[in-house]
Point group: C2
Chain length 219, copies 2
DNA sequence: CCGCGCTTCTGAACATTGTTCAGAAAAGTA
DNA sequence: TACTTTTCTGAACAATGTTCAGAAGCGCGG
């Protein structure tokens, strides 16, 4: 009975076609521009067919969100190998920002959409956080790096989760404002990111001597 | 001829009615829920009438944006009197965050709407910034405070605009993430704001001795 | 008080959206 | 070939923002 297998394969193929069409639209024009009829046109099926593969438009967004998050993770590959934990932490910030600036549509879908696709990454099911959620696992990488900094004695002891969330929200602030209205920011975004990461690190440092030489001049 | 005056008054009154109805809807349910027909129902006029007072839905959003920004400014009243410039800078950050957290719908309308109402505040007409724009004037207050810190010798010399934008984007990051998906942040938002402001200030400081005693423990 | 003209207003329409569902079409099975 | 199951779609529904021809109201000159 290879028939059921073939059918399943065809079904998966069509699902992937839908996703591919949706991906293209979202990456080109943003999630708001994603329309069931547009997808239908692209895959040469009736819009109603899409509902046999996805519950609704938001479910497609959720699927794309997963992909986008993988994409974000892939930006972190390089930093994982940085030995110095403080440099690694700064690297995470800079690469995170680079992902957002280079992939604005994906970043908006992930972190700037009201419908809270964020909750797809951070399980809020029953209020308790599941450490296996992709978002939680990625954030754990940040927390671990912070802890490594503390262990190495380069930053003052403190709650690594709090420090990690400071780092995240901080960089997110730059990226999201830059994506919403770049002209509102006069400074070059890259400089903003780099200087903020350095200043933050300096603020956390046990002794300014450790980082003073690395801090970029802000003039 | 008091007639033309009365007509003008009535016209202005209706405009204000529209704005009031829209304001209520936006504050209650957010800008996405703002519907021409809903406004029409509220003011007991046909939806078409609204177009005699506003170019379109977005224009109403722009008008509400102006109000919301005034509201934000009003949160800064208390901090302007703080003598110590570094404390004033931190106060700006904390009050800014408080505005966002206490008025989420307004904050979203101002700084988290794609249609870039932000550009209403920061003139991007002809690419050049007009220092008279409300947003620009408010940001100037931040820059002035940063400059005062530098002059007082409590933070290291640097570009006050860059430092100001770091401060702004930083706090915006916390607020916007908290408003998009509060459950993604484990730490209490107020603590996040306070600690980040302190850490940032410490990172800018000329000597850690100046602020070390004031820095909240991050444990 | 009447009738003309201007302002103010509205009903109906248009195009577009997500979503549903009865039934057509196709595919598989016997 | 006849029956069943799966796959698909046309048409419809209820919203949305926006437009516009014409109705209604109002003020002014007679």
């Amino acid at each position: 009975m290879g028939i059921t297998e073939r059918k399943e394969r065809q079904r998966a193929e069509l699902r992937e076609q839908i996703l591919a069409a949706a991906r293209k639209i979202v990456l080109d024009e943003g999630f708001d521009a994603l329309t069931m009829r547009k997808i239908g046109d692209a895959i040469e099926y009736s819009p109603a067919t899409i509902y046999l593969h996805f519950e609704n438009r938001e479910a497609i967004g959720r699927a794309l969100c997963g992909e986008a998050f993988e994409h974000l993770i892939s930006y972190m590959g390089a930093v994982a190998q940085i030995e110095d934990p403080l440099e690694r932490l700064k690297g995470i910030g800079r690469h995170y920002a680079r992902f957002g600036l280079e992939n604005p549509k994906e970043y908006k879908l992930l972190f700037m959409t009201d419908t809270a696709f964020l909750e797809t990454l951070f399980g809020e099911i029953s209020g308790t956080k599941d450490p296996d959620d992709p978002g939680e696992r990625a954030f754990q990488f940040v927390v671990d790096t912070v802890q490594a900094c503390i262990d190495a004695g380069v930053i003052r002891p403190g709650d690594p989760v709090l420090i990690g969330e400071m780092a995240w929200t901080m960089v997110h602030g730059i990226v999201s404002l830059a994506l919403t209205c770049r002209s509102a920011l006069e400074s070059p975004v890259e400089e903003l990111v780099a200087t903020l990461c350095d200043t933050f690190a300096r603020g956390l440092a046990t002794s300014p001597a450790h980082v003073a030489s690395e801090v970029r001049s802000t003039t």
